[in-house]
Symmetry: C2
Subunit: 170 residues, 2 copies
């Protein structure tokens, strides 16, 4: 995975939370995920497809951080992860990916987004099953932590690419 | 979501588990997911992108069922969900989606798959955030239950589609 793919997602999450929830997360240094396990309570996940690459991205929040984002955005704080919270996490996932897509498009890397999914469950973990380095970006706040995890892999070139035929996403 | 999208995923999961693990799951009737909450312990999730549609699919297993599939496939049964189990669930997710893709391609519906992700965590739930009906397909077995959930949405037609320009996935 190319390193320049990472910063647009980091910048986009910071921007979305600043704009929507007046919240400043503190980004830690992005790193390649090895044995590290990132646990969280609610996560947004999305698949991405490019002409010669595909991948996936997840954003995982501690419950208290997700509830605080709700409170900052809507002025109401649910007692636990409910459907409004999972809707918000799905929306954040779409906005962060859409923001990164616009930035990456300016450097000539285009990809299509699938629809987001949201996982809810105390202390769950996510593994991106992707032939490529998984980058993990931790964020801290006074309400808890968040993590972005992202992976892109190169697809095998297919015969039609080699012969110069139209290179639609297959 | 078109109903004919559902059966290829159902048939493909049955076929993968029969072939790889000599296991016969009992499929229940597919239905539109309303208030129902499907909990499980390990899930494979994948995003899908088509020229004018996008969506997501998940397969969720009870822990004991996932461990039994491992035992049938590899002759060894881990005590709990470990990396070998999440690798297997990611692989099943890829195979089921790839099988459905081949069947749907024969009816003229082409889509591209993102890379799979696997969630591990006792009793987690998944919500597909997709503008369209979510279809849930429950499966039972003597070791526990599995669920496929799937959603496809139609994308807004873009100007270039209306003017007949090449309709690449954007």
């Amino acid at each position: 995975m190319r390193a320049e793919f990472v910063n647009p997602f980091l910048a986009s999450l910071m921007n979305v939370l600043k704009t929507m929830a007046s919240m400043d997360l503190k980004p830690q240094k992005p790193r390649i995920k090895k044995d590290e396990i990132a646990r969280g309570d609610v996560s947004g996940l999305i698949g991405m497809v490019a002409p010669q690459s595909k991948g996936s991205m997840s954003i995982t929040f501690d419950e208290q951080l997700a509830l605080q984002i709700m409170q900052n955005m809507l002025g109401e704080r649910p007692n636990s992860i409910n459907e409004e919270v999972t809707d918000m996490v799905g929306e954040i996932t779409n906005m962060v990916t859409g923001g990164a897509k616009r930035i990456l498009s300016e450097s000539g890397f285009e990809f299509s987004m699938a629809t987001p999914m949201v996982v809810s469950g105390k202390g769950h973990t996510i593994t991106h099953k992707c032939d490529g380095a998984i980058i993990i970006m931790p964020f801290t706040s006074e309400w808890g932590n968040a993590f972005i995890e992202i992976c892109f892999e190169q697809q095998r070139l297919e015969t039609r690419d080699l012969y110069g035929l139209p290179n639609n996403v297959k």
